[in-house]
């Protein structure tokens, strides 16, 4: 019977091609616009490290006094000062922990040529904590953190650029005129959002590319390797030693706390540490502290730009208009078939039968609309990529990529929306009065 309904629906759709095209186009354009913006929104709000996001924590501590005075967690500095980072590294209260900060150094390629490259100073735990995948080799050992060893881990992109077609592990690269031994090469790794360091121009670091080399934090501090933004005004950091001693916040500190006992232990330490800062006279207030896991953190910092949310709302409104439009058109379509439906009713079809038949037709519109919507979504996303001038491999490329999950969502949304829009017209059409209709013809 269902096949018969679909055959009927197909015939009916063919009978009035203009109206069918109009309905399909309305649904398709609505779905396309909605999914184009939704793709970016969903990718931006995704969990970057799903299996561990509730075990990775970032503490915050108020060194400015403002947050403590106003009891305002949202105004806490995102980053740590060097002093605090070292105190927390020394406490070793997590299963793993790392202090880390972004750097930029000149790379000298073995085949000649120099270029600036963004990198990161970090502890060996970074890689295991954040499940960074290695293509070959491994992270340096924790003992090498203490020894300030000349070691480096590089991205596959940098390794392939410097040593095309050859194994990079064990080779030496020159960064900022010093030689480092490569201990490992990463697989392409693009956590989105880049949760471990979101600070850049507000929170735009969350959608920045991951760095291309990683070197020991201890070594970077020894060599006075600068970072771009020290998070405080210049008066406080005239010399390197003064900067390390200052309350400038420029270091990201992350800790892995696998269960509730660890979290309790760490929280106690954090509170005690805060009180101690007041007692020792370093701060004139007991600093406000906070501890967040990954998703909490991204939420609190509003890494998803408001414009993206607003775009999605607008696109949602757009879909609504398209659906209202579709309801009107479907209503018109069904009403014009009152005669045919009356004949079926008079010949013994029940109201439910008519209802099903009408729904089959909206299903088909939904399907066509969904396929069109999918094509338009793909087109819209590639238009966005072109407008922003990015390649598919970049972070923005990932944010505007049509993945299988989105394809499925698009089709399902399209079907549900269209069938939902078709419910009322189908209900009305199935209530046709056969006697009255047939007599009037």
């Amino acid at each position: 019977m269902l096949r018969y309904y679909f055959a009927l629906a197909f015939r009916s759709l063919r009978r009035n091609v203009l109206l069918t095209v109009l309905m399909t186009a309305a649904v398709g354009v609505g779905i396309g616009a909605c999914m184009t913006t939704l793709t970016t929104l969903m990718a931006m709000s995704a969990n970057p490290i799903p299996d561990k996001s509730s075990q990775l924590f970032i503490p915050q501590i108020d060194l400015s006094g403002y947050a403590s005075e106003h009891y305002d967690v949202s105004s806490l500095a995102r980053d740590f000062s060097y002093r605090d980072a070292m105190a927390f590294m020394g406490a070793r209260l997590g299963l793993r922990q790392t202090a880390t900060y972004p750097v930029q150094l000149t790379v000298i390629a073995p085949q000649g040529g120099r270029f600036q490259q963004l990198g990161r100073a970090t502890y060996a735990d970074f890689f295991a904590m954040f499940e960074v995948p290695f293509r070959s080799g491994a992270a340096w050992r924790s003992s090498e953190d203490q020894d300030r060893a000349n070691v480096v881990v590089v991205s596959s992109r940098l390794a392939d650029r410097l040593f095309p077609g050859r194994e990079a592990v064990g080779r030496t690269i020159t960064l900022g005129r010093r030689d480092y031994r490569i201990t490992g090469v990463l697989q392409p790794w693009t956590p989105i959002p880049r949760f471990y360091d979101i600070t850049y121009n507000g929170t735009r670091g969350a959608f920045a590319e991951p760095e291309d080399f990683y070197l020991p934090f201890t070594l970077a501090i020894d060599r006075q390797i600068q970072t771009n933004d020290f998070g405080c005004d210049p008066m406080a950091r005239a010399a390197w030693a003064a900067q390390l001693d200052s309350n400038c916040t420029w270091i990201q500190f992350w800790v892995e706390l696998p269960d509730a006992a660890y979290v309790r232990g760490f929280t106690n330490f954090l509170r005690g540490y805060a009180v101690q800062q007041r007692q020792s006279g370093r701060l004139q207030w007991v600093p406000l502290t906070a501890l967040h896991d990954v998703m909490d953190w991204l939420d609190l910092q509003h890494v998803v730009p408001e414009q993206t949310r607003v775009d999605s709302m607008i696109a949602g409104g757009f879909l609504l208009v398209c659906l209202i439009n579709a309801v009107g058109l479907i209503l018109a379509k069904f009403s014009s078939r009152a005669g045919e439906l009356s004949v079926r009713r008079a010949l013994g079809a029940s109201r439910t039968d008519l209802f099903r038949q009408c729904l089959a037709e909206t299903w088909m519109i939904g399907l066509f609309g969904g396929v069109l919507g999918l094509a338009l979504t793909a087109a819209g996303l590639s238009a966005l990529r072109a407008l922003r001038g990015v390649s598919a491999q970049s972070v923005t490329g990932h944010l505007t990529a049509l993945n299988p999950q989105m394809v499925l969502i698009t089709l399902v949304v399209s079907l549900i929306a269209t069938v939902g829009a078709g419910l009322y017209p189908a209900l009305r059409a199935s209530r046709v009065q056969p006697g009255w209709q047939l007599k009037s013809q």
């Binding site: 616009a33 000149t106 209503l331």
Partner: protein, 405 residues
Amino acid sequence: MELLPILRTLGRNKVGAALIALQIAVTLAIISNSLSMIQQRVRWMDRPTGIDEANIFSLSNTWSADPPDPKAPIEADLAALRSLPGVIDAEATNNTPLQGYEWHWPLAKGSDHQQFTAWTAIYTVDEHGLAAYGLNLVAGRWFTASEIGEIHLREVKFPAAVVVTQTVANALFPQGNALGQMLYFQHAGSSRIVGIVRTMQRPGDAEGWGNPWREYCVFTPFLYVNNGLTYVVRTAPGQQRAIMRAAPAKLREITHERIIQDVEPFSEIRFRAHRGNRSTVMMLGALSTLLLAITAFGVIGLTMYWVGQRRRQIGMRRALGARRVDILRYFHTENLLIAGTGCLLGVAMGLGGNTWLAQRLEIARMTLLYACSGALIVLVLCQLAVLWPALRAASVPPAIATRGL
């Protein structure tokens, strides 16, 4: 008039009419808000930087072997750049407008250096800065060669004289007597304002393109002595392309041991800086246009269907003496009623939506006038959309009335 019969007919077709009205309302709410967002983004993109954008290009230079004192090589580079024929002037600077990081030195209200008044971006310039940037000096003077000091990375020092933008001058001294006054930095340091330029924008887009601090810039008479800085070169009109090729070659003549990156005209920098704004404008524009098209087609589709339904009724009216123009007017009036209701609703929804948006984005509040002009566009569009079905209706022959009886 024939309002009453129209209303009675609509009453029999409540759902269809309500759907169209609702669709028009949502459309209006969305396009009026999109238009106000577009207008705002366009304003941001058009915001002047205050420099001679058409004739400026910049390049960044890093020596691969750290020179012990980069001052001499920087001065040699600048002399070389300035000697190129077609170059009006050149300048070494810590930052350029619209991109990269900024040095932000907060200003304080008074000589106690305590109370914060403004976030300012610091540009380091020498005596050539005015000509190299093509700035418009509106009061006072620019720096002289003897005033230029040196500043290094992470060094903090305050010059005796500074030049500020009109915005800074007005903010600190609303009476307009900024020239010759002292300007106090927060925590420490003060400088005398010796000149005022019309405007200058800060580097980067920290805090967004609409932020109120965009023109808060202070020029300091320093040569930024660092391995890694930006050269700004202003050329005579029409010479930029040639000099963009000649300049790196000229610098490499001095020494090859350097990395020259980002040789690009300022227009390119502006283009890249506003990529996000442009894509938002394009997207909202495309959505709004599509939305209007869909609503128009919706109106056509539904009116078409009504015309089909009412062929007999129309035929009868024609048979009873109504002219074609009466039939046309009937459908236009009907549409005006529906669209008018939708627009009233839409203006309310649009203003409501704008309030909601304003809590989230730095967005200009939409005035009633703005919403009403949006409504006018929608009304006219609907009237145009209904024209075709109405013409079809008007062409129904009166003889229909006698058929099928």
